[in-house]
């Protein structure tokens, strides 16, 4: 095994010394078991900075490395996104690094594709197979190459984008099941900027959340949770107040001062009701007051009318308006559920209208749009390859699936954690569509539902073993995060970017010209090295953190109109046959399912239900009682599009007549920790997004439940101290 010093030389990695200096001075190894803890001597360790890759938030990490092995991941205290903090998922990346089922070398499918039979091959053979195919395709029909990945950022995205362009194929598709399409569209409509907004929670005095999930998953959970902590308790005289509207009592809702239940999908109606009161009672600051809002449709949202549709009492709406507009700076934030389904854009736009009327937009404690692309300004139009908008890519995937079926593609390159074969609605028949592509190569660390469908699987390093750079979607402050290998690659893996760079060099011509780097390491070194020790400092710190704040993108000034309510989708599902509204939400531990193969995450009790290792369907106890269902019962959940089973878990704060399920369980491939833990809720979703929004309709479908005997049991975290009185805690 390499020792650290050798590793430093070979890998070019730079230790994160700023705050953890002095570790090296500690004494040598020990055998701890025989001594009481005070007398134990600790081993040597160093910390290296890098970037988390467990979700799209882009937190900065530092990794403790001892004897060449990664031992612990913590947040990078210098990083503006997470300021030293990290979520459970980020910490569990260690288990992916040392996972027993991690692919250790390239594999070729033996027998029919997808059968699960593999034959190990050498990298040499694998690459020659890949190159033969690539060369043939390029010679005969370059546009028949498909690249389907998760959204890629930084130079990795540039490499992939340029590779496809130089190759001559326009078919580069990125899929993210939790893409923020509706929020992007709403921000464009209301603020005139098509980007993710930055909500300055830390400096807000008042927070209105509309099915917000910013403390648990969403765009940047650690960033927003850290800011939330400061909003609550870091100011001398102000404790920011937090009101949550939504159909489900979620982890985020539980932190609110008051959780007000609403009918599912009515987030936008509630928000317009609050605006209505504000205009009617003259609560908005005069500069932001837009007199013709009422005439433009807001008059229909009187508190009484809104009460009828949403279930929120008119008096509560009026109070909320008074408090929100009387306690600026304040923020209105819509979450995942708010932006899904036909009403997604309408909901988000109604919420953003509150931010526009508040008068705090662009100010501390308000909403703003720090310019992400400044870091990559030198790339001009190619900037969007390095900092793409966080869209779902749903329409493009659907289009690609259709083309697969028609035989348009001769070859597919698959990569990333968004696992389309698992996260796409079953009606899209992704696996079947892919079977029409003669050759598929997957870049993956694990065999999941998607990589299992390939002819050739090439193992990739985990984020802790790669070179790269990134700019986070929010909270970046203009900073670029750098990723460096913090341990010697533990498996014989090569990153997709490295393979593409090598392939481009071999393809020659336009490809080689577009991608002049030998490897990602070379690319990073060329891009970030400058006079002095610039690169080394950046690697040590974990990124390039500019001292000045990123410039804000100009937001629309002047009159904004209330969004138009979406028309009822034609052929709506019959509520008689499907009596419950379906509400899917990203699992706190497993996200879209990418965490399901890690035992640490499987064994993390869910914040609401305390369930582990298996999925469930949440019901309001009253609804369950009416249906003759008890907590823990097995049920079949049927939608017009699919049918799955799960155990009932009571959520007393869930709206009646709603069935809520976390995504993430239900894998058929993805290793022992993931397989056999229930069925996949994504398979309940319709193919076509119902109405205008283009992402998955996570909160728009309907289902019917039927009691079903299941051989399994839903394990909950025991509550040994159940006798303590709550009033002692609050």
């Amino acid at each position: 095994m390499l020792d650290r010093r050798q590793f430093l030389k070979l890998g070019g990695a730079a230790a994160f010394a700023t705050l953890f200096g002095g570790c090296e001075k500690t004494r040598k190894q020990i055998i701890p078991f025989v001594l009481p803890p005070e007398n134990q001597v600790l081993g040597e360790a160093l910390w290296y900075a890098s970037a988390c890759g467990q979700c799209p938030a882009g937190c900065g990490v530092v990794v403790r490395v001892s004897e060449g092995r990664a031992k612990k991941i913590e947040g990078n205290p210098l990083h503006p996104v997470n300021r030293g903090r990290l979520c459970a998922r980020g910490q569990a990346a260690l288990q992916a690094l040392y996972h027993q089922e991690r692919l250790s070398g390239p594999m070729k499918a033996s027998g029919p594709r997808g059968s699960g039979n593999w034959q190990p091959v050498s990298w040499e053979e694998a690459l020659s197979l890949l190159m033969t195919r690539l060369k043939n395709v390029r010679a005969e029909a370059p546009a028949s190459l498909l690249m389907l990945t998760e959204p890629m950022r930084g130079h990795e995205g540039l490499v992939a984008g340029r590779f496809m362009k130089a190759f001559g194929s326009p078919h580069r598709v990125a899929w993210d099941p939790f893409g923020r399409d509706a929020l992007l569209a709403a921000c464009e409509a209301v603020h005139g900027v098509r980007d993710l907004p930055e909500y300055d929670i830390a400096n807000a005095r008042y927070l209105l959340s509309f099915s917000g999930d910013f403390l648990e998953t969403w765009v940047s959970p650690v960033h927003y949770a850290e800011a939330y902590g400061r909003m609550r308790g870091s100011r001398e005289t102000v404790r920011g107040k937090f009101l949550h509207f939504g159909p489900r009592l979620s982890m985020t809702a539980a932190s609110a001062d008051r959780y007000l239940q609403i009918a599912p999908g009515t987030e936008g109606v509630v928000a317009l009701g609050i605006s209505h009161v504000a205009i009617r009672d003259g609560l908005t600051p005069p500069a932001a007051a837009a007199g013709n809002l009422m005439a433009a449709g807001l008059s229909a949202y009187s508190p009484e009318a809104v009460e009828k549709r949403t279930g929120v009492r008119a008096s509560d709406l009026a109070r909320a308006a008074k408090e929100f507009f009387g306690n600026q700076p304040g923020l209105a934030i819509g979450g995942t559920a708010c932006g899904s389904g036909a009403a997604g854009v309408f909901n988000h736009a109604a919420v953003e209208l509150l931010n526009a009327l508040s008068g705090s937009a662009g100010l501390p404690g308000g909403v703003s749009f720090p310019d992400r692309s400044r870091a990559y300004a030198r790339y001009g139009a190619e900037r969007s390859l390095l900092a793409p908008p966080p869209e779902s890519g749903y329409a493009a995937v659907r289009d690609a699936a259709g083309k697969m079926r028609k035989g348009t593609f001769r070859m597919a390159i698959l990569a990333g954690s968004s696992n389309p074969a698992f996260t796409l609605p079953p009606a899209m028949k992704f696996a079947e569509a892919l079977s029409n592509v003669p050759f598929a190569v997957a870049f993956a660390s694990f065999l999941d539902e998607t990589s299992s469908l390939a002819d050739l699987v090439l193992p990739v390093p985990t984020p802790m073993e790669t070179w790269g750079d990134d700019i986070a979607p929010v909270g970046h402050g203009g900073a670029v995060t750098l990723r460096q290998p913090v341990v010697e690659p533990f498996r014989d893996a090569r990153s997709m970017a490295d393979v593409l760079l090598a392939a481009a060099a071999e393809l020659g011509g336009e490809s080689a010209r577009a991608l002049p780097w030998k490897s990602m390491r070379d690319c990073i070194e060329k891009n970030y090295d400058g006079p002095g020790e610039r690169l080394e400092k950046a690697l040590r710190d974990g990124g390039v953190f500019p001292s000045d704040a990123a410039p804000l993108r100009a937001m629309r000034k002047g009159a904004v109109l209330p969004p138009k309510a979406p028309r009822e989708a034609a052929g709506a599902v019959d509520p008689g046959k499907y009596p419950l509204a379906l509400h899917l939400y990203p699992s706190t531990a497993l996200y879209d399912g990418r965490g399901a193969n890690l035992p640490w995450l499987q064994e993390l009790p869910d914040p609401l239900t305390t369930a582990m290792w298996r999925n469930w369907v949440e019901l309001n106890p009253k609804t369950a009682e009416r249906m003759g269902l008890a907590d823990g019962d097995g049920v079949t959940i049927a939608s017009p599009h699919g049918k799955i089973t799960a155990h009932v878990a009571f959520n007393p704060g869930l709206a009646p007549d709603v069935a809520a399920m976390p995504t993430g369980q239900g894998h058929s491939r993805y290793g022992r920790a993931a397989v056999g833990r229930g069925e996949n809720p994504f398979s309940l979703l319709p193919e076509a997004p119902e109405g205008g929004a283009s992402g998955l309709a996570l909160q728009a479908g309907r289902v019917a439940l039927e009691k079903t005997a299941l051989p399994t049991r839903l394990v909950r975290f025991a509550h040994p101290e159940g006798q303590w009185k709550l009033s002692n805690l609050m």
Partner: protein, 232 residues
Amino acid sequence: MKHKWAMAIDLDRCTGCGACVAACVAENNIPTVGEAEAGMGRLMQWIRVARYWDEEHAGANAVYLPVLCMQCERAPCETVCPVYATYHNDDGLNAMAYNRCVGTRYCANNCPYSVRVFNWRDHVWEKPLDEQLSPDLSVRSRGVMEKCTFCIQRIRRAKEAAAAEKRPIRDGEVAPACVQTCPPGALLFGDIEDPDSEISRKLSDPRRFRLMEHLGTEPRVWYLKRRKGAGL
């Protein structure tokens, strides 16, 4: 230099996210037990985030309470151990000498906070998952009791760093893994022997309380009640 380590848990900031649990598992070589054992109540996690349903107030809500070893000054677990495996150290921490533990489980019975976990079996870290194990502390074997140590190895690391630089430990230099990671900063750790430390100042807040104060265990873990704002 005497220290009196203590933790403050601000319930007004805790969101129930579970990052502390994951941090603890990673730091302290804590095994996962799997679905079946978890179903028997044999989770090995040293910190739990208990979820209470709040039905006393209007509407249903969830309230989170992170619970870990309270590091009681008058620890009821210590007096019942026949072999002195669990004892008080110089910093006033309730420590475990695993190699002395004979597995009577008296201590766990006598702990009013139910924070002790028992190794009902030898846990396996399938290769190469064991590469992650920290060399700073042992993997406990079957028949041994374990629990939160306030990350004693991290305290030692800070002491060694301070000793090497011939200076006292700085306020904020030591943080158990849970405190280090807690995204909203609900957890705070420090030395209450030092009247100027952040935790000493934090504990002057009238919201403070300790769990089951009436038992006289004198926990070193303090809680700060949730606050309620005016209005809606």
